[in-house]
Symmetry: C2
Subunit: 130 residues, 2 copies
Amino acid sequence: MMERDAQGLLDGWRLGNVLATDCPSRGILSHLTNRWGVLVMVALATGPHRFAELRRKVGGVSERMLSQTLKELEADGFVLRTAHPVVPPHVVYELTPLGVEAAGHVVALVGWIEGALPRIMAGKLAMAAE
Amino acid sequence: MMERDAQGLLDGWRLGNVLATDCPSRGILSHLTNRWGVLVMVALATGPHRFAELRRKVGGVSERMLSQTLKELEADGFVLRTAHPVVPPHVVYELTPLGVEAAGHVVALVGWIEGALPRIMAGKLAMAAE
DNA sequence: GGAAGTACGCACAAAATTGTAAGTATCCCA
DNA sequence: TGGGATACTTACAATTTTGTGCGTACTTCC
């Protein structure tokens, strides 16, 4: 029965083409590439973090956005949330195996940008000059 | 003098930390990872395209968004725009060498998502079931 | 000879994203 | 005993992003 359902979900995106409006990968992509999704993944790539810890690490996130972002990533199966039911709340967020794979690519992209910044800025400078 | 200016621009982001609010890489990242930026890069990764061609290929973009996105990517030095001044306009967009590098990472991420979709969907299915 | 295609720019409107401030229950520290 | 930290949620407001429709100057197709 799960076979049937899974098969049903599989139909239609076998070719997985993000360029198509209705491809489910569009949604996943947007979670991974929106303003805070990328940064949270980058932060979590270095290991488990608590909520407030992440908030401090990712410059500029509001609590609202952070929890929303974490929820989406959790729903996509990239992040695992573990809550210890103690009185001052204690919650830990970490990447799932799937999340580690995804984070690998995100980190690679971000890393490339940081490394390429000199060239990018130089290019902008040249354009502005002419 | 260009040395001096470039040096000035270089100051402050030597460590290139995207997690910092004021890192210039945040801007580049957002151009590359916003709704249409990713898709345009993916489309251009397969070769040069004309405007209307891109519009058809990238499902869902409006002309307004497409030209805006292309302008940003051009300003970042990822896309080269070549206009032939003929009467029915003829403009070609293609990746610069820098853009090819960037597109490589973007395509890798998107490709991974498409490939991982079965696992991602299976995970969602499992979560919904419990 | 009317329709459609080309590569946009512009003004206006709608929609989505993001921020702000406040509230919660409890503990630890001074 | 007052204040801060913890991990959020919710309502409301500001901001940003995105879409829509129109105009252009001219050509080719039917």
